[in-house]
Symmetry: C2
Subunit: 313 residues, 2 copies
């Protein structure tokens, strides 16, 4: 019997939850706040209480569900253990075991949130139909997730798919959040697009509408580039070249069928993905059948979709 | 019943063959020439005849064997199809099906030679005990193979593990054999080590014993670096930094347990791997539990070991 499953995506501000049919149809979705006080001790009990309330509203029992999936911000080991989740206040623990206990033994599977979002996009989003793909999320940071043979590849120690921390800007003197110098994230996150734009502006005196915006956002930079502002365009090309370069390196290692570009920056659409594709193809000439560079489509729901898919196995 | 298997590694000059017990013990190995004339049409019949002769000498029948594995120079699709093997003169064909037909239907499995060598090292060589590893072969070119969960990851179109063609030397103006500019191979193959050494020599006037060698080899460069020749050491550091950088990028994508360094250049031993490790660790600070950087141990036999493991499944 194809029973429904529950998808849960724990973020730093809200927990997103969704109930899904086995075929991928979203039955209902909702959110609760993430209570991070006191080491985040309320987060899992809050989730359990909310799940119980929702399933009761739907006039069903917990035992009617096949299981739940859980996406969390941080490295997750194959058995669900996390050493820490900085954004949630958690130290070493096994959230999937705890949540299962709070839900009368309902099976719970878990993974890193970026990996889980990639799985969601592969299942019901922009990556439908592809079994081997890499998702890159261009948000505050640059996240990533690797899907091989339809499953998350979490890596041996949970840092698989950390595309944003590939070393790309050689000689960079500013430090990345990870402690390194020259990570892709420094050029291709929302902050990275702005950083590169400021550098491009500083490198010359050419007029640009960007000079009139005191604190430009990535959207400002991309919008002006679309309108043909030469300096904005130059800076977007620079960021996209670093992105294309990183993905070209991934292609020579994993040879996936497709890349999915998501996150806030990806709202720039094919204007962005076409540039990334051009640099990717130029920097991976050996790959004669190029992977596709596609847009993610599930937005903030990718996490609950992927968590539901985790629960389905 | 644990029946023996046959491992076959087709190279441009010789075909290496070996008979293995299921536990990994090499029973016997031998070689035959690779006859590339006339589109390489004799290669598979020669192999079949040689296998028949050897099994007869061992007083056994072909049907006593569980199967054969085949490593080939070129991209191999999951069903064994190859579009071409330039070094063998082959066009589009399915060598594993043909060989199986020539061997009375004995099951034959095949893969790209670099991937198969990586599997051999993971099974019985320097990578024993690791299920997730990446092998890098520093020879005339730079080859690579990705092993995940104990199996070859060939990629969607057979270019998985082509570490040598990751773009690393940005701004390079000389062309790589693959058609690209700035591949790792251009700095880290045997030829690449010499190339970087010549550039290092040309960049200054500092004295160096390297200046007295008209056509230095990679071994010359590495030997002089070991003896403390400052320019040779500088050039080896440069090549090893590019290698460490490429592997650091692989770590952020795949997070393997170990890297295995093989090929002629790897005879420089831990002098080489320690330098690669230092740059790898520096350029992947987010990975707190570092993968090991180890030496391959099977040398030219890695291919027949890996082919045997393929046959065992």
């Amino acid at each position: 019997m194809n029973r429904n499953v529950i998808g849960i995506d724990i973020g730093g501000t809200t927990v997103k939850l969704g109930i899904f049919e086995a075929g991928g149809t979203l039955v209902t979705k909702w959110e609760i706040p993430t209570r991070k006080a006191a080491g985040g001790k309320d987060i899992l009990p809050d989730i359990a209480a909310s799940v119980r309330q929702k399933t009761a509203e739907l006039k069903g029992a917990l035992s009617d569900y096949a299981g739940a999936g859980l996406g969390m911000p941080g490295p997750v080991l194959p058995d669900g253990h996390v050493d820490f989740c900085v954004n949630l206040g958690w130290g070493a623990m096994n959230p999937q075991e705890i949540l299962s206990g709070l839900l009368d033994g309902l099976p719970v599977k878990s993974g890193n949130d970026a990996n889980v979002a990639a799985l969601g996009e592969a299942w019901q989003g922009g990556g439908r139909g592809y079994k081997n793909l890499v998702m890159v999320t261009l948000g505050t940071g640059v996240g990533g997730g690797v899907i091989l043979d339809g499953r998350i590849w979490p890596g041996t120690r949970g840092v698989g798919g950390e595309i944003g921390h590939m070393h790309i800007l050689d000689g960079e003197t500013e430090r990345c959040n990870c402690g390194g110098y020259g990570c892709l994230e420094q050029a291709a996150s929302a902050t990275g697009f702005v950083r590169i734009a400021k550098r491009t502006l500083a490198s010359g005196t050419q007029p640009s509408a960007l000079r009139n915006i005191p604190e430009p956002t990535a959207k400002d930079v991309l919008d002006l580039a679309k309108k043909g502002d030469a300096l904005a365009l130059e800076s977007v090309e620079t960021s996209c070249r670093y992105l294309g370069w990183a993905l070209a390196s991934v292609t020579m290692v994993l040879d996936p069928e497709a890349y999915l570009i998501g996150g806030g920056v990806s709202r720039a659409g094919t204007f962005l993905t076409e540039k990334i594709r051009r640099y990717h193809d130029e920097l991976s000439p050996m790959s004669t059948k190029k992977p596709k560079i596609l847009l993610a489509t599930l937005g903030n729901d990718a996490g609950i979709y992927g968590a539901a898919k985790l629960a389905l196995g």
